[in-house]
Symmetry: C2
Subunit: 467 residues, 2 copies
C-alpha cells in the first residue's frame, strides 16, 4: 500500500475507501467518451471528510476527481490522471426548504429533480431542468453549471445559486455568497465556483434561489418540411415579444430514432419539429398561443399540433427526453456536442452542420435547446472503426470552428472537460486562458483538483481513436 | 515632472492628461464619504489608451482608479492612494443594438438609462435600474454590480452581462464570455469582473442581455401605522406567489423629507409606506392587484392607494427617486448603507435599526428595496462634529453586525469600497478573504488597480472623523 493510501486510512473509515478493481472500474467512465482507472475511490459523507482527503492529496500531490452520479457529457468526473475519485453520491441527502425566504439549502448529493419536488410542495420551483435531473446530483449540476430546456426563459444553474460551502484544494472550508439575493460583498466566488468543473474546489453545500411556479403551461408542437425554416421560426418567435419557457428542436433523424425506440406519435415525415412550452397566467397563454400559431403559419410550418390534454402534452415532452437514449441505439458510439451560437445564427449553424456532415461523411443528428442557440449535434459512429473516428475528429474540430465563426462558443452547457480543452485558445485567446490559469494556480498550486480538465497540455489535440 | 508622468505623455495626447489642481480636485470625491487628491487624471477614449496607461502604471507601480460619473456610494472611484484617476466618461458613447439576438453592445461610457431607451425602441428592456441610471455610466454599474428597485423581479447588473472586453492590470486586452446566453467555456471571468469594484481589470466593452418589455404595469401605494407591520406585509406578499417588479419601503422620516423637499402627496402621518409595481399581462395584473389588496387589508394596512392615471403612478415613483436628495437636506452629512438580510428577516432588521438609533442617539432614516431584503439605512449627521461622528462609527459597525447576525450581508448593491473593508472577515472568515486575495495577487501583482478597496490593511478600522 502506498503512503498516501495509508494516510487516507487514518482520516476516513476503511469501508469508505474502495480499491478493488471492480469498484474502481465502475468509476472509470461517465456519459461521455473515454475510460480511465482511478487508484482509489473515496465515498465522502461530510465536509470534514472532504477537507481531510484533500489535505492528504495536496501533501502527496495525488489528483482528486469529484463525482456525482456520473451523467456528465464532457468527462468532468473522469480520473484522467489516475489518483482518487471522490464519490459524493453517498453523502446523506439534505433538502432544507426556507420557503419564506424563497431559498433551499441542499447537500451536494441531492438529486436535482428532488429539489424541484420539494419546492413544488410550496408552490415554488427550482427552475434549472437538465435532462438528467432525475439521476444527476445538484453537486454535478453546480460543477458544470448545467442548463436544460427551461434555460431559455429561466436561465441556468448559476442563476439560481446564491451561496456555497466549498472545500479549497488545500483542504480549507470556506463560505461564498450567502442567503440574500443581492450580495456584493467581495469577489463573486459563488459564480466562479459554479461551472469551474470541479477544478477550484469541492462544493459541500449550496443555497439555491426558488421562484414561484407558473400557474399554467401550454405545449405546442410544430412541424416543418425544411430544417432552415424551423431555424427561422425560432428567431421570429423570440423577436415577437414572446419568451417561451422551452423551445426545443429535433431533426428528422431524432424524430425517427424516438419513434423507433418508443413510439410517441411524432410526425416522422417532418424534416424538423419545434416543441414549445409557454408558461404563465392562463389568460396570457391564450393570447401567446394564437400569436405563435400566426407566426408559424406565416413562416410556412407544415403542421401545428396543440395537445388537448395534460397527458398528451406530457407525452410530447417525454418523447423529447427519449432523444438521447434513442439515438444511442443507432450506432455504438455517440459524440455529443453543445456548441452554441447567438440565436439569430441558428439557421446558419444548421447549414454549417449539414456541410460538415457531407464533407466528412459522418452521421450527424441534431436536437437541442434551439431557443437559446444551444444545439446538440451528435455524431453517431463506432469507436472501433479507426478510419471513421479520424473523420469524426475532423468533423468535431470543424463544428467547434463553425460555432466560433458564427460568434458562438465551444460549450453552451456541457462543459469543456477534456475533449474541448485543445480548442479553448481559439475562442478566448492565449491571454484570456492565461488569466484563468492564474486563478487555478493560485488556488490549487499542486494541481490536484480535477487536473487534466479545461486547460490543455502543450500540444494536446482532440483524439477519439484508440491506441 | 516625475518619470511616469513623462511616460504617460508618450502614450496619450497631452490634452487627455489633467494635472491642474482644480481638475484634480473635481476627481477627488464621489457620492460617498471622503476626499482624496489624485496626482493626475487621464481621460481615456479607447481600449488601446487604457492598455497603454495601465502598462505605464504597472511598470512604475502607480495606483490607477477607474471612474465613470462618480455616483458611487461606496467610494469605488476614490483615489485613496493618490496616483491616476482614469476617467472613462469622455469615451465616445456606443450603444449597438442586436435586437434579433436580444443583446446590445455598449461602451463603458454609455449611460444606463440611454441603454434602456435604445432597447425600448424595439419593445425590449434593459432591466437593471439603479436610482442613478440617468447619470451613472454602465461602466460604473458593471464595476459595482449595481442593483435597483427592479432587482426584486429581474435581478441585478450581473444577471444581464454575457460578455466583456477587459484590459488586465498588466495592460493586456482580453475577451470574457461572448454573445450567447448559455456559455460554459472555461471559468466565468465575466461574473468575476462584474462587481470586482474595478480591482481586477478595466471594462472597455460589454455585451448585455435584453428582455421583452412587459406589456403593462400597476403601481400600488400602501401605508402603515407601524414599521414592523410594513415589514410583515412584504414577507406575506412575496410568499403568496406574486413577484412584483418593485417593492420599495420608506419610513416616516423619508416620507416627510420628500414632502418637505418636493411635495408629492405621500401620506405624512404614516409610519411607513410600501410602493409596489406589478408588471406583466394586463389580465394577470388585475388578479394580482386584488390579491395584494386582500393581503394588505388582512395584515392591517391603514390605506391602499391605486393611482388612477399613468401620470399619478409616475408621480409616486418620482417621489421615491427624490428620497436621496431630500434626506441630504436634513443634515450636512449622509452615511448611506445597504446591508441586506434574507427577506423574512426584514421585520427583525427594522427592529435592530431602531435599537441602534436609540443606543447611539443617531438620526437614522430607512428606505430601500425591501422586497429583496436590501434596505438603505442612512445615518444623517455632521462630519464637523467629532463627537457625533464617533457615535456614527459605532452605529455603523453595529448595523453591519446586525445584518450578519440575521444571516445577511454587509453590502447588497453599493459595494465594499473602503468603509466596509474592515468588516469583510467577520462575514467571510479569514480563509474566504484569502481566496479572494489570491485572485487579486495573481491578476495584479503590483497592486496598481483601485488599490485600497475591498481588502483592508492590517489593523484598518472604520473612521469617519477628520484628523
Amino acid at each position: 500500500m502506498n503512503s498516501w493510501m495509508k494516510k487516507l486510512l487514518q482520516v476516513l473509515p476503511e469501508k469508505q475507501i474502495l480499491t478493488d478493481l471492480a469498484d474502481r472500474y465502475s468509476y472509470s467512465f461517465d456519459a461521455s467518451f473515454g475510460e480511465y482507472l482511478p487508484e482509489a475511490v473515496v465515498q465522502v459523507k461530510n465536509n470534514h471528510e472532504v477537507a481531510a482527503v484533500l489535505r492528504v492529496a495536496n501533501v502527496y500531490k495525488v489528483p482528486v476527481y469529484p463525482r456525482g452520479s456520473g451523467t456528465c457529457l464532457s468527462g468532468g468526473p473522469l480520473p484522467v490522471k489516475g489518483g482518487i475519485v471522490m464519490d459524493m453520491s453517498q453523502w446523506p441527502e439534505k433538502i432544507e426548504m426556507q420557503p419564506e425566504d424563497l431559498i433551499v439549502k441542499v447537500s451536494p448529493s441531492a438529486r436535482t429533480s428532488e429539489i424541484n419536488k420539494a419546492a413544488e410542495a410550496y408552490g415554488l420551483m427550482y427552475a434549472p431542468d437538465p435532462s438528467s435531473a432525475h439521476v444527476a446530483t445538484i453537486g454535478g449540476n453546480l460543477a458544470e453549471n448545467s442548463g436544460g430546456p427551461r434555460g431559455l426563459k429561466y436561465g441556468v444553474t448559476k442563476d439560481y445559486v446564491i451561496g456555497l460551502e466549498v472545500v479549497t484544494p488545500e483542504g480549507k472550508i470556506i463560505k461564498t455568497g450567502g442567503q440574500t439575493i443581492k450580495n456584493v460583498t467581495g469577489y463573486d466566488l459563488t459564480k466562479l465556483m459554479v461551472g469551474c468543473e470541479g477544478t477550484l474546489g469541492v462544493i459541500t453545500e449550496a443555497t439555491l434561489k426558488l421562484i414561484s411556479k407558473p400557474p399554467a403551461t401550454q405545449t405546442i408542437l410544430v412541424s416543418f418540411s425544411e430544417v432552415r425554416t424551423a431555424g427561422k421560426a425560432i428567431s421570429k418567435t423570440l423577436t415577437s415579444g414572446i419568451l417561451p419557457a422551452k423551445m426545443e428542436f429535433l431533426d428528422q433523424a431524432c424524430i425517427r430514432a424516438v419513434e423507433n425506440f418508443q413510439p410517441a406519435g411524432l410526425p416522422i415525415e417532418a424534416e424538423a419539429v419545434i416543441i414549445i412550452e409557454l408558461d404563465g397566467h392562463p389568460e396570457s397563454l391564450k393570447v401567446e398561443k394564437e400569436l405563435i400559431k400566426g407566426i408559424m403559419k406565416q413562416i410556412g410550418a407544415v403542421d401545428i399540433i396543440i395537445p388537448k390534454t395534460v397527458e398528451e402534452a406530457a407525452g410530447i415532452w417525454h418523447a423529447r427526453k427519449q432523444v438521447s437514449p434513442a439515438i444511442a441505439k443507432i450506432k455504438p458510439t455517440k459524440v455529443s456536442e453543445d456548441a452554441t451560437v447567438p440565436r439569430s445564427r441558428i439557421p446558419d449553424m444548421l447549414d454549417r452542420l449539414n456541410e460538415i456532415k457531407r464533407k466528412y461523411n459522418v452521421e450527424v443528428v441534431v436536437f437541442g435547446h434551439a431557443g437559446d442557440g444551444n444545439l446538440h449535434p451528435n455524431i453517431l459512429c463506432d469507436k472501433r472503426d479507426q478510419e471513421e473516428m479520424l473523420r469524426v475528429e475532423r468533423a468535431v474540430a470543424e463544428l467547434f470552428q463553425a460555432a466560433i465563426d458564427l460568434g458562438g462558443t465551444l460549450s453552451g452547457e456541457h462543459g469543456i472537460g477534456t475533449m474541448k480543452a485543445p480548442f479553448m485558445e481559439s475562442e478566448l485567446g492565449a491571454a484570456g486562458v492565461d488569466m484563468m490559469k492564474r486563478i487555478k494556480n493560485s488556488w490549487d498550486p499542486n494541481h490536484i483538483l480535477n487536473t487534466g480538465k479545461i486547460f490543455s497540455e502543450q500540444g494536446q489535440r482532440l483524439v477519439l481513436r484508440h491506441d
